[in-house]
Assembly symmetry: C2
Homo-oligomer: 501 residues x 2
């Protein structure tokens, strides 16, 4: 009987091979996987202890055959396997749907409600477990995190594993004052041609755990917060790194590629470097996972063909997701605001807004046909901040973000688009069915005590009043023609209309 | 013994004359007032019942002489009077001080903290009394209001007096739906050459009451909210109106001239009209009271020489007073944001923000070296809204605005100017003494739980923590060099530093 794997699951071939020399560069393996619908060639990777692996994510059901090859004895294998239907929450990878939204490959709606825990997989096991437990509560369906360790405020400890063989610089003298002085931190000794499989195995274990919870892993491939030199590698080292990461991770259906966090702060990379690396990912990832790149100040040129969606950090202190419509028009791609300041109380502007303000920014994004990202940065006695380490959440926004997702889930079709409204309301209507008579009017910091609607006399509208902070939906009855809906004169209210006949 | 009047008080000459024909246009009176320092020619006005008046505000102490003249028997009078020192809260008219601030003519600091009650003088006496009682609590030192009655939402009743002789259109059919349809409202019958002195006497009574409380009267000369045709008068009628208003009001030291509210909505006025009328006010007002003009959407060209300061309505929903620095640079004149949305709960965006947000906007203006204006628009069972009618205040912002004034009063010299700070703080330093080591760091919606300051090792700073909402100032001790100030991680906090040696 053939081995079976779910559609969009992982079929892995494991081959014993040489462990002498440098197996990461001296030996190569690859696999060819095919059935009547697809024919895919993927690179394998060395996983340590003389084991080489080739991973494949099948996109169709039925019998597949495969052949592997390489430059060592035993690399040539072949066989067949059966791909069975996807089960449970397996809907395939997330794709861009239409122009501005997302859906799983099987057509199921996917609205990104992400969070950020930059180096949660680099933390001790108890914190990792706690992070997964927190994530299991369903607040988020995407999480951004880094492959490389992070040197930054609140995060000066060494990671539990490093991505390369070698010895790190002593961290005992490092603190906030030399945050960006990594180029002065000599004493690192790395072999960029020898990966540390344990580092990647740990990431994969967690990518798989996320996948099983229905959470997308938005992998940050490069970032500037560095004292080890990982942000200063040359082009050959970077391409070797990308190949290794792609060959290991790309068969996980829940992978997204974020080329960088704050790409513009990675001072050693040129514009050509970014294009080279992004196009390499585009070419080497056979599954066409979503790709983007995150800015500190200037947006990347999101019109580049390899960019599937815009992952933006806000550029203005006062207008963040309120600018969603403008960027939809400018870029013609899904807008994901993955950094709009975090709920917290640290001494930095991007990390000390209230839960109320963060949730308002989420609603402003969603009403305008975009998406927003969460982060939490509360001071903590053991310096464990969700945004960097994961762990527990201490804020007020996550429950309201989860509630907002239920509101969006109710929208017919795929997502909202901005519609004309009053100056004090952001109005979202279904992108797929703009004329359906389904409308959400979100008032944000405006507090009208009533709203008058002018609708058709011969149509009926079911009206709900939504308290986005208290997370209540109150039936306000069926109305026609000109009608007045009373509101409590509080901030963060919304009114939803559904034409019922 | 000569009659005496305070410096910057009003010396009034009253003359009996003809009451036949049309005394408003058939007869003219004027007065010449002089002492060793000044020589001023002013127009008089007809006050009804055969009485003509000429008013003069002396700017110097000592003996003045005067002569009046006119085109009727008895218009020629002359005499002398004594100008005694100003007393109490009489500091003279408010002038621009330096480039961006204001002071009374005697040099006393004046920081505008204004409110808006568009037609409070047109209300029944009990409401007018209540308005004055509310104003007596010292929340505000400026109030904006109109000469002409107002036709607008929440304000469809006739005023207690009209500015002209005649008969108004029936108002029984008018409501929000024909707010701007005044041109369709025929049935008015006015004689624009015959003023109604009672209307202006009522305004003067209230201008004097404001003056005695130390409140500036920011008089709105034209506005678009009209069902009577007052916003559609031709040039001759407008100039006659301006002359009448100036001859009556300009001797009141607490007058400011606002050429219009939302000038761009007065559809019958051209750009030439506005320049003509503004320059007429500039020429005809012998006391050079402050002059500006208020926009709906496009700002007026505040670089015009007659504009003494910028009176701005915010153009952006999300950034209002945060743009103060930009406009200081652009116009080089004091920035007064007199419409930045009102505290309230009506169904319109400009009238339903929270007291917290309004107070934040005040602080953002002041920290950047500008000023802001209050208004309140809470739904009311008798439809009495502060912003239009006056009456009582129901909100939370006025006490905090009063508190902010105490903070500004403590600043050395005249007002603040913006200084570089962190991204999460608006930092104001004294405009007159920028190097004095006096700094206010306002955090707005950012909530740092501490702030580290880097100051000179050999200087001492007295630090206060200001809770701008709770209105507390907490002594945080004397510090030098690098020091950390703990904060509660709440919104709307500020830290004030004063170098003490």
């Amino acid at each position: 009987m053939l081995k079976s794997v779910e559609r969009w699951g992982i079929f892995e071939v494991s081959i014993s091979g040489p462990d002498g020399g440098n197996p990461f560069v001296d030996y190569i393996v690859s696999g060819h996987f095919s059935n009547e619908h697809e024919s895919v060639e993927v690179s394998g990777f060395y996983d340590g202890n003389g084991i080489y692996k080739i991973r494949f994510m099948p996109s169709y059901e039925g019998i597949y055959s495969y052949e592997t090859s390489g430059n060592f004895d035993g690399a040539e294998t072949k066989g067949e396997f059966t791909v069975i239907p996807a089960k449970g929450n397996n809907h395939g990878p997330v794709r861009v749907h239409g122009k501005y939204h997302f859906a799983y490959e099987d057509g199921t709606k996917y609205y990104p409600f992400g969070t950020t825990c930059y180096v949660w997989t680099h933390q001790p096991e108890n914190i990792r477990r706690q992070t997964l437990e927190t994530l299991s509560k369903g607040y988020f369906n995407k999480i951004r995190f880094c492959v490389f360790p992070k040197h930054y405020i609140h995060n000066f400890k060494d990671p539990v594993t490093f991505p390369y063989e070698g010895t790190p610089v002593d961290n005992s003298e490092l603190n906030v004052d030399n945050m960006y002085n990594y180029s002065d931190c000599h004493g690192n000794s790395w072999d960029f041609s020898r990966f540390n499989p344990a580092h990647f195995q740990l990431m994969e274990e967690n990518i798989a755990a996320l996948r099983d919870m229905g959470i997308e892993a938005d992998i940050i491939l490069f970032h500037p917060y560095d004292r080890w030199g990982f942000s200063q590698m040359g082009r050959d080292d970077c391409l070797r790194y990308l190949k290794y990461v792609i060959s290991r991770f790309s068969a996980y259906r829940n992978i997204w590629w974020s080329m960088a966090n704050e790409y513009d702060l990675v001072k050693s990379f040129t514009a050509d470097d970014w294009e080279c690396y992004a196009n390499y990912v585009y070419t080497e990832d056979k599954y066409n996972h979503l790709r983007s790149i995150h800015n500190c100040v200037p947006f990347y040129d999101y019109t580049k063909p390899w960019v599937t969606h815009c992952c933006m950090q806000r550029q203005d202190k006062y207008r963040t997701t309120e600018l969603t419509e403008e960027y939809r028009k400018k870029y013609g791609k899904p807008i994901v605001w993955d950094e709009i300041a975090y709920e917290g109380n640290i001494d930095i502007s991007w990390g000390n807004i209230s839960g109320r303000l963060l949730v308002r920014r989420f609603w402003e994004a969603v009403m305008r046909g975009g998406y927003a990202g969460h982060g939490e940065t509360y001071e903590h006695p053991d310096d464990i901040l969700w945004w960097s380490h994961g762990g527990a959440l201490h804020g007020e926004s996550q429950e309201r973000i989860k509630f907002l997702r239920t509101i969006l889930d109710d929208v017919p079709g795929y997502g909202l688009m901005p519609a004309d409204g009053w100056y004090d309301a952001s109005v979202g209507i279904p992108e797929s069915y703009p004329d359906s008579g389904y409308e959400i009017h979100y008032f944000g910091f405006d507090r009208p005590s009533f709203r008058i609607f002018n609708k058709e006399e011969d149509k009926k509208y079911h009206v709900d009043i939504i308290d986005t902070w208290e997370m209540t939906v109150t039936d306000a009855g069926i109305h026609s023609g000109r009608f007045k809906i009373s509101l409590p004169g509080k901030e963060y209210m919304a009114v939803r209309l559904k034409r019922v006949e």
